[in-house]
Symmetry: C2
Subunit: 346 residues, 2 copies
């Protein structure tokens, strides 16, 4: 870590570059704006001088006049969650390549957003906002919408949504969770499973609600017993305790469908290391997400995969399109899910 003793350090401005290169300040601006017309040799000379002077256009000044901050705000409840950190990583990489920087904010643990935080965030004028927090308040939404900032709330849309883009005002990312869930349930049924427990995620999470609803629906379609619902919050520790509670009561469940992979890990460890049960012999376990840890040998988790690359690509496509053509018609991107079979079911 370090710091410059000399505080005088004047940063180079476009004016200085212009003077040094014997051109007008406007020419310097044009040199850094690829689609502006400027004689090539002149541009080269300016860029050379700029490099020597260690000059970079000031984004703040630029944002002030262009009304584009080149910032994309991300609101995240828990950066440590493997699934979210993957998304942050991938989105940041993709947006960075397009010239946008990630502005990171922490939401409150209960997935809600501090109104103060949002007000503060608005001050930075992000060109777009991506919220990993699902229960975003309408007031907050409209406060951004007043400034015509496209907001992307990341959660997995219900299949119930028909897919007719014209029916909605917004861009949407539609994740067909049912596809993977059907494959998972079919596999479990094939192994003779009779009673499935659903180990939930955060109550406020829409993705969680949808998953629960859809699992119930698929079970009903196949003539199976409705799921036993076990409380969870996407964390290992809660999943661990809930699993203990479930089996000490003796619910008769012979399979656990977890709302996310981390929860599945907690369930597996409770079963194996505290209840003395075997996975998959006594109890089968299926997760959701397919995070990198799912293939770790200690878990080797069978799970419903949401392809991160596809997901991020679709999201970036939506965002960039909206930024470039703000008045374009709302678009719906659809993703599917599929079961990845590993060792916790067979």
């Amino acid at each position: 870590m370090s710091e410059k003793p000399d505080r005088k350090a004047a940063r180079a401005t476009a004016d200085l570059v212009a003077r040094e290169a014997n051109v007008s300040r406007v020419a310097v601006s044009r040199a850094f704006n690829p689609n502006a017309s400027l004689k090539p040799e002149k541009r080269d000379r300016i860029l050379k001088v700029a490099r020597e002077l260690n000059y970079t256009p000031d984004m703040a000044a630029r944002a002030l006049v262009t009304r584009r901050s080149h910032l994309v705000g991300m609101i995240v409840p828990d950066v440590c969650s493997p699934w979210e950190s993957q998304e942050i990583d991938a989105l940041t990489t993709a947006l960075q390549a397009e010239g946008f920087a990630t502005l990171l904010f922490k939401a409150k643990a209960d997935f809600s957003m501090d109104p103060m935080l949002l007000t503060y965030m608005r001050g930075f004028n992000p060109d777009s906002v991506i919220a990993f927090t699902e229960n975003i308040e309408p007031a907050v939404l409209s406060s951004f919408l007043d400034r015509a900032v496209p907001i992307y709330v990341i959660y997995d849309d219900a299949d119930a949504f028909s897919g007719k883009a014209s029916e909605t005002l917004y861009d949407r990312l539609l994740v067909r969770q049912k596809d993977g869930i059907e494959q998972a349930v079919a596999l479990l049924q094939g192994y003779g499973v009779r009673r499935i427990a659903y180990l939930g995620g955060k109550k406020q999470s829409l993705a969680n609600t949808e998953r629960e609803r859809m699992i119930a629906q698929v079970l009903a379609d196949r003539g199976m017993a409705p799921p036993v619902t076990v409380p969870g919050d996407y964390t290992y520790d809660t999943a661990y305790r809930s699993t203990l509670d479930l089996f000490r009561v003796g619910s008769g469940a012979d399979a656990i469908f977890a709302a996310n992979d981390v929860g599945a890990f907690g369930a597996i460890d409770a079963l194996r290391h505290e209840l003395g049960l075997s996975v998959p012999d006594d109890v089968k376990v299926v997760g959701f997400d397919d995070i990198p840890q799912a293939h770790w040998k200690s878990y080797n988790l069978t799970t419903v995969r949401i392809d991160l690359d596809d997901r991020v690509r679709a999201l970036v496509r939506l965002i960039l399109r909206r930024l470039k053509t703000p008045d374009a018609d709302p678009l719906v991107e659809t993703l599917t899910t599929r079961l990845v079979v590993r060792g916790t079911v067979g």
Copy 2:
């Protein structure tokens, strides 16, 4: 996700608020600047009008004149790494509370930084830069230092550094890694371990180099055989493969000291699930970091803990102090490490 159909959406400015509240624009500015002198009732009235108009000061405009962007740049090679994501999360939370927003950038996988990226980043004028990338290039450093931006390169300083602040130009975070390493080696020796393998991290990582050097030193001090060094890169998969290689060759190692917890997980899984060895009966394993996953029952890892809270607190203290008093003398914050005993040694 959503977008406002109406693009006109004029954002409220200080001028508008001033007109609406029958005051001068200067008064509005003062209302939002706590230490400016303004009659309390007047301030209240202004803030009320501002709230009604949904007004927030524009940070870009503010930054332009105050020369403070209230942005802290973070350069991260891998957001998904549990240890790094923890740090990002904690730092963002702490800085957010102090009114700073996190500007996130991805470094290249080899821990180096793309010069273009840095140039781009400089354009945002971060008030400070925190680099999780350890082999930061001097040219890059000085390009920021020219603007008197304090840079914090996060790695664990050698104990070799005497702690005399006057001898360095920079603020430093000194992590006494040796403390925990000594405890770990003592424990291993107590269990009769004779030959320790060091499962390394990324070659470019200074923390890794330091850890290796210090383990060798502690072993020598205790009259033990020098460590067998096994190549690694902080990832699970590499650790897994390296461990297989090590034991198939038959190195005679009866303990593995991993450069980080994730690497330790890979080693444990290779030993248990592929080599048919027992941890801790056949081979003892010690990790480094104490990430949350370390207490998961499948691993239950004995590891050298670097207290994240202490670490972040110290870092935030350094950063804020430097931002408030840029000319203050360089300061050194010292942290210790300690062994957390769980199930992979006893």
